[in-house]
């Protein structure tokens, strides 16, 4: 918790500032939307965090999102296969992809950046080729299924919790528990610090790394399904472009070190929330979209710099206390 104070402060600051400048920000409608987007991006960021914690990186997220987003409607609407079969096929595909990433990284000792960069290129090409570059969507059918992405759990008349957000919270709880209270989480943190030392401790590091890549691809796939259901219109060439960078940015903002071995799920979720909130703030304050990227870049930088200062101050204070 203490480690996430910096990023939490940033979240509160952006929130309060936006609310003060634009009252419409606090409408139930807007808050719901922001929560829904936070849920969607939070899901993929949690998966990214696992890989980062083991000292790897996953650049394929955006392309996996595109691939799932193209395949699911093609199978459901185009080929009219039953839902259960389609889901089974998607899960099987994701498992294979995650396994592949993991095996290439461990057994062939290829660099994670390279393996997943190839994934980024390959799956995007695959999605474009399979669909013939045609936009895919569920049309007006599958309204029920689409509730998974656009539905909400009603709380008051006007406000409800969007389902993607609820899914994300559930996922975060599980992920947090795995990371902090199970041996597997401990193994991942350990091998993130030093794979060699972890292996010398008798940990099956390969298996844990493969597991992390599977988790990342699975959450990307889950995110991809929800994104597709939400947007309901998937352009194979652009859908999910750069999403891996958002996921990684959220994880890093949330305290994951790309050197591995460090990270908290709560932080990652807050990180994703900050990013989404920023997007929302820029649009709702009517700031030129041209500045969108610039502002987000600047805020991430400010966030990590602030974090670094907090760390330096607290660590020097600790020393003083110890003396």
């Amino acid at each position: 918790m203490r480690k996430n104070l910096g990023i939490l402060g940033l979240l509160v600051a952006v929130f309060v500032l936006t609310a003060a400048l634009e009252p419409n920000f606090l409408t139930a409608y807007n808050l719901q939307n922001t929560l829904r987007w936070t849920g969607l991006f939070g899901i993929i960021s949690i998966g990214a965090a696992f890989v980062i914690i083991t000292g790897g990186i996953d650049l394929s997220t955006g392309s996996v999102i595109a691939l799932v987003g193209v395949l699911t409607p093609m199978m459901l609407v185009g080929a009219e296969w039953p839902l259960a079969l389609v889901l089974l096929m998607v899960v099987a595909l994701l498992l294979v992809l995650g396994l592949l990433h993991g095996i290439l990284v461990t057994k062939l000792s290829l660099q994670p950046f390279v393996v997943t960069l190839c994934g980024l290129l390959f799956y995007r090409g695959l999605a474009r080729w399979i669909s013939g570059d045609q936009t895919q969507g569920f049309g007006a059918a599958f309204e029920g299924l689409r509730q998974l992405a656009i539905g909400r759990i009603v709380i008051t008349d006007s406000f409800g919790l969007p389902i993607p957000f609820v899914v994300m919270v559930g996922l975060a709880l599980i992920a947090g528990a795995v990371l902090n209270y199970t041996v597997w989480g401990r193994y991942m943190l350990a091998l993130g610090h030093s794979e060699e030392a972890a292996r010398y401790s008798g940990i099956n590091t390969d298996r844990m790394i493969i597991l992390a890549y599977i988790i990342a691809v699975m959450t990307a796939g889950l995110g991809g399904l929800l994104f597709a259901l939400d947007v309901n219109s998937v352009q194979p060439a652009v859908h999910g472009n750069f999403y891996e960078l958002y996921a990684i940015a959220a994880a890093v903002l949330g305290g994951c070190s790309l050197r591995g071995g460090e990270g908290s799920i709560l932080g990652v979720v807050i990180g994703a929330a900050v990013l989404r909130l920023l997007y929302n703030a820029i649009n709702i304050l009517g700031i030129s979209t041209q500045l969108e990227f610039a502002i987000i870049g600047a805020v991430i930088l400010i966030g990590v710099i602030a974090d670094e200062f907090v760390r330096r101050v607290t660590s020097s204070r600790q020393v003083h206390r110890a003396a």
Binding site: E22, N24, F25, T27, Y29, N30, N33, W37, S131, G132, D133, Q134, T135, Q136, G137, F138, G139, A140, R146, I150, F227, D230, V231, N232, S233, V234, Q235, P236, A237, V238, H239, G240, N241, F242, Y279, N280, N283, I284, G286, T289, E292
Partner: protein, 314 residues
């Protein structure tokens, strides 16, 4: 609609389907209309297709926009989003239509028809027929697909049917024209140029190149000029990039099909402003405000440029 309580300066939204210089001209029109009619306009250009549109529209609604003009990337699948707009604001479409939705009016042209016009330009410039390669930024977006199909159908002398789709990786031909390929560059100008070069390398006897997005004719022209094939290859294109117009003036480009993005922007905001103030009379019976495409060739290029300069106030 709830937007009716006419505030002093109602907010209207103008959402494009991407980022392009084409859209900045439309933005000019939208902002001019907003100034004249005393409304506030927010022009939003999503960098990432339908997902960005959705996000931006929702933010507009949250800000209490009284009306939104949108160029839907994918109307068939965006029904939900469009009805979400229609529930709380005036919805109109521009540039690309969504006839199935509850939109009040469509401001724009018929992209399929524009594609056919482009095909006719080539037929005039290359009456004897020949081999053709098409260049386009992105497929899967309705107006892009329609444009490409229009060109193909015109060159193949087929009857009009905007629902037809020819696959990308097949050679299409009749006794006069052969369409060898469609190359997609994803808005990467360098790649667009590289693809034009590679097409000439692959087909040394290529007769014509058609650029369907605003920058395509420019990059084609660059590549053809560097290859020294200006005399051999006929170029036609879309939109009014300065270099394209210059090429037409110099005779290196046979012609281009221009839309009128300024009017798209202006008309959209004019209609939304009137609606915001309770004036329903701006909506014509046909629910279509036609801003037709025009063929620009060396015959009318100077006239057109003068007109354009006047509009964007240069």
């Amino acid at each position: 609609a709830p937007g009716d309580e006419s505030a002093d300066r109602p907010l209207v939204g103008y959402v494009t389907n991407g980022i392009a210089s084409f859209w900045t001209i439309a933005q000019q029109g939208a902002e001019d209309a907003a100034d004249t009619l005393d409304v506030e306009v927010s022009v939003l250009m999503p960098p990432d297709g339908p997902a960005g549109q959705r996000r931006m529209v929702q933010d507009l609604l949250a800000r209490g926009a009284s009306g939104i003009a949108i160029s839907p990337s994918d109307p068939a699948n965006q029904a939900g989003l469009l009805s979400e707009i229609a529930r709380s604001a005036h919805l109109i479409t521009h540039d690309s239509d969504a006839p199935e939705s509850e939109r009040l009016v469509y401001v724009g042209m018929d992209n399929y028809e524009a594609g056919r016009m482009c095909g006719r330009l080539l037929k005039e410039a290359l009456p004897g027929g020949g081999s053709v390669v098409l260049f386009i930024g992105l497929l899967g977006q309705l107006n892009a697909d329609l444009r490409r199909q229009g060109v193909i159908d015109e060159l193949m002398d087929r009857p009009s049917d905007s629902s037809r789709r020819d696959p990308v990786d097949e050679i299409i031909g009749n006794d006069r024209y052969t369409i060898l390929d469609t190359r997609v560059d994803q808005f990467d100008f360098a790649r667009a140029k590289g693809q034009a070069e590679d097409a000439m390398a692959r087909y040394p006897d290529l007769d014509a190149m058609i650029g369907l997005f605003v920058y395509n004719p420019v990059q084609i022209l660059e590549a053809v000029r560097e290859a020294g094939k200006l005399d051999e290859i006929t170029i036609v294109g879309f939109d009014e990039d300065e270099a394209t117009l210059q090429g037409i003036r110099q005779g290196t480009i046979a012609g281009t099909i221009v839309q009128n993005p300024y009017r798209y922007g202006y008309e959209s905001v004019r209609i939304l402003a009137a609606l915001a103030r309770g004036d329903q009379s701006v909506i014509p019976e046909s629910e279509f405000i036609d801003i037709p495409a025009r063929s620009i060739t060396s015959a009318n290029v100077d006239e057109f440029e003068a007109e354009l300069k006047l509009l964007i106030g240069q």
